[in-house]
Amino acid sequence: MLDTHKLILQVNKLGVRRSERWLFRNLDLKLSSGEIYQVVGQNGAGKTSLLRCLCGLLPEQEGDIAWQQDDEMPIIPLFYGHLPAVKPELTVLENLLYHPINGNFYNGDVIEAALHEVGLGAYFDSEARHLSAGQARRVALARLLIADSKCWILDEPFTALDVKGCTWLEGIISSYVKRGGSVLLTSHQPVSLDVELKVLEIVEDMNSHV
């Protein structure tokens, strides 16, 4: 069980620039455990850039991002992006077995349980090249279930999932937040969760926007 209302991430006056154009400036954000934010904005507003920047995949040009400590180690968020990061030449099981999550490798039992949960119980030993796009996304989603992470960063997590899969994922996210996890997500489709969903809108200068 994760303890609730502990600060996870603090962002001060963050600004991200793509070549000459500022995507956004002066973005402030406080994310505590048990909170979920949906990042909204037009196409090209910088939603993905913000999420990648928070993970450390994109350099920030202004401001600072502070992940809080957890057992003396800074928290590593679990990033689930546009690309599923599933190797076609490895089997479904190997894809999870040999892929580090949160600085650790996990063992067979946890992985098998997660694969059953995402509905790939029958595909353990099939090579990932034979999976459909939605199934490959499910392999990537299994990583969320395997690792005990304090924060999920989900970039368009509902892409390529079927209707049932979307409902299932909404359930997973809700129960994770109820357990004290914190989530940042972007989505183009309406998200219905049974927890309070806070909205963070991205505009060019966050100061002018209240």
């Binding site: 892929h99 650790n104 490798f105």
Partner: protein, 219 residues
């Protein structure tokens, strides 16, 4: 931790054996074309065989560099590995080792066959093998930096060669001259020592440079 990263790389290479055999076949073909094109005369071949084998091995190793990070970059694995593995340096080192084991070692293993075909004097065989072992390891190390820098580009092939070739040249000079010297019955430990020094320097610096290069590509 490191063992699983390495196992992942080797397993991947094993599953895509086609990519691994390509440089080997290239090596085999280029070397065996020389007697046809130049001369089948044993004496002449013996004097140039060291250089030919070395140049072909270098080009074959360069051919295979692309497979190092390209696939992982395209499907998003590379960025997750950097983020989630705890230490990006381990990821890079695992990739370099697996590249060397799957490309460098096979090149070294088949080189004696080609050496016999090229009439390389038998007393130069040790020099060829030892210089190639060290040389291919250096190629994998330096190639990892070049590949890390160019992995984000759509047509990175030419740039990759331009970036890494100057760094490969000293390896080629010392490697080939070790074989030639041994063929003439001279001492070649000096050349090997230079190669060893180059290897030690690369081992120390390459992981840092590779991680920095990959970070630039991912941004």
């Amino acid at each position: 931790m490191f063992k699983r990263l390495l196992k992942r790389e080797l397993l991947r290479q094993w599953r895509s054996r086609q990519d691994v055999t390509n440089p080997l076949i290239f090596f085999l073909i280029t070397v065996s074309l020389f007697p046809l094109a130049v001369t089948p005369d044993g004496e002449l071949l013996a004097s140039i065989s060291g250089g030919i084998i070395w140049v072909s091995a270098l080009l074959a190793a360069m051919l295979s560099l692309e497979s190092m990070y390209r696939d992982d970059y395209r499907d998003g694995t590379l960025e997750l590995l950097l983020l989630q593995s705890g230490s990006p340096y381990l990821v890079v080192v695992a990739k370099i080792i697996s590249h060397w084991v799957t490309t460098g070692i096979p090149l070294v293993v088949i080189s004696p066959v080609l050496a016999i075909m090229m009439h390389l004097p038998t007393h130069a065989m040790t020099a060829l093998l030892s210089s190639l072992i060290i040389g291919t390891a250096i190629l994998s190390l330096i190639g990892s930096v070049g590949m890390g820098l160019t992995v984000g580009l759509r047509q990175g092939g030419v740039l990759l060669s331009l970036l890494v070739l100057p760094l490969f040249i000293p390896v080629l000079i010392f490697g080939a001259s070790a074989v030639t010297a041994a063929g003439m019955g001279l001492e070649y430990s000096g050349q090997l020592a230079y190669l060893g020094a180059y290897l030690a320097g690369s081992i120390a610096l390459v992981p840092l440079a590779s991680v920095a290069a990959i970070k630039i590509s991912i941004h």
